[in-house]
Symmetry: C2
Subunit: 301 residues, 2 copies
Amino acid sequence: LIVSTYRLSEKSESLLNEFNLINGSDKKEDVSKATVLLGWPDSLRRNVQFAEHLEAIQTFSAGVDDLPFHQIPESVKIFSNAGAYSQSVSEHAIALILSLSKSVNRKDPPASYGVAGKTMAILGGGGIGSSVAKIARNGFGCRTIGISRSFQHPENFDEALPVEKLDYVLGSADIVVCALPLNKSTHNLLARNRLEKMRKKVVIVNVGRAEAINEEDIYSFLVGNPEARFGTDVFWRVNSAENFASKLWTLPNFAGTYHRAGAPASPEVKEEAVELAVINARNYLLHNGRVRNLVKRDDYV
Amino acid sequence: LIVSTYRLSEKSESLLNEFNLINGSDKKEDVSKATVLLGWPDSLRRNVQFAEHLEAIQTFSAGVDDLPFHQIPESVKIFSNAGAYSQSVSEHAIALILSLSKSVNRKDPPASYGVAGKTMAILGGGGIGSSVAKIARNGFGCRTIGISRSFQHPENFDEALPVEKLDYVLGSADIVVCALPLNKSTHNLLARNRLEKMRKKVVIVNVGRAEAINEEDIYSFLVGNPEARFGTDVFWRVNSAENFASKLWTLPNFAGTYHRAGAPASPEVKEEAVELAVINARNYLLHNGRVRNLVKRDDYV
């Protein structure tokens, strides 16, 4: 039995019509019988404890850092929806870079920064990072340096480097894009010591998870380095809810959006991403070998 | 005798060292002897009347709409600096498009618009228009349709069409970029009748001259069509000075910058553009056939 706690569209539902599906229920009696559970992290967090026969979880979100790993037996396979938002989020990253570089809507603007031919460090070589690299390289002739454990599209990177090279890369980048999932190894990855290695006129953008960057440290860094610029779509959580009221908004060298790069970007982006998750769950159920995005629990627990 | 009313850098000056040059003077006695006059439009407007032996004018600006054509004898050749700001201005156009599409810094943001694969109409096929097309096509996979009398890089356009096709093109575009010089035929080109032909969710951006769009008409259009979005770097002139205090700023579906796309973008952009103008003047003086950007007076007078 498949249970989706989120109401699937007719099209998505039809992709699962050879299986037994309960569509759009988070009733305890339905969830308790599920072998495969589909949902957004907040709903999964509330319901996963009741699923006594669970074999697999498929999230609609790209990130799984909000899942209650301690309530999920180790035998349960968890599949994320990584890659489903790549185009939307990568365009969003470029929007923040350009908005900051050209001081859009900013009175008394400082000098603009050119983008063409600049060196861009991209932290995260998954779908989003690879798509950012593609736009930057093909559109603006940037030199793209990726930092990742695994690259989805290494051909978009002029250099594809392992995480050990991070400090070296940060010091040589004009633009730094953070497109990392949040897990044990990425939490506070960009803290004071690494920010201080960056170039004076660096443009930093975060479209992954806020907590990969230390909030106090980036704030101090921007105050102390007025020529550096920072933009983010993601904000630091307080009691598991994103707190958009950051003091960063008071700084002239900051630009932000309210976590709108992915699913909340538009109904079309959300629907397409849900479909991709459903197709992945279907591939899992069909045992056809095309299932993707198996989460490594060790990264989170 | 060459007179530059603007003080050239050492490097630019050295490009003219085989000629007789007065560098950085707008004294009447110097200007009056000039056979070739180099300068920005505002300075040329004040000084050109004193140049009694003038053969040629080279502007540092791309646009020449501010020149006092009625004071310049027809025998005087006028060279613009078209193309010198192409990279900076085209990046700026993309910045405005993305900033609007993703509602950067906008509270209570509406749905984001995707850019990938969209149809972009580009009015003006010169250096700026061609460079916008290149970024949009190579970076975002947009379908690029240019409207121009002559295309500098037709290879960047999926379709390169004459001005007569304008109405047809505007109706099929998701994004409209205006990169036109201001002259008799472009003044008020986008007025109510053409704006009303556009798509409901059109994103319009102007990096040419404000007066190619009718200010009252675009204002009414944006009020009446909240899903349409407009961004501009250029503002309508009042007594020949750009008036940045437009009521457009009060609209949520507007984004702006304070005429910063070209020379004021940064000292580097300005210096590079001045060098290109000096090289062009040098080519004119050397009669080597590589002189560019001869202005057609008929377009303006």
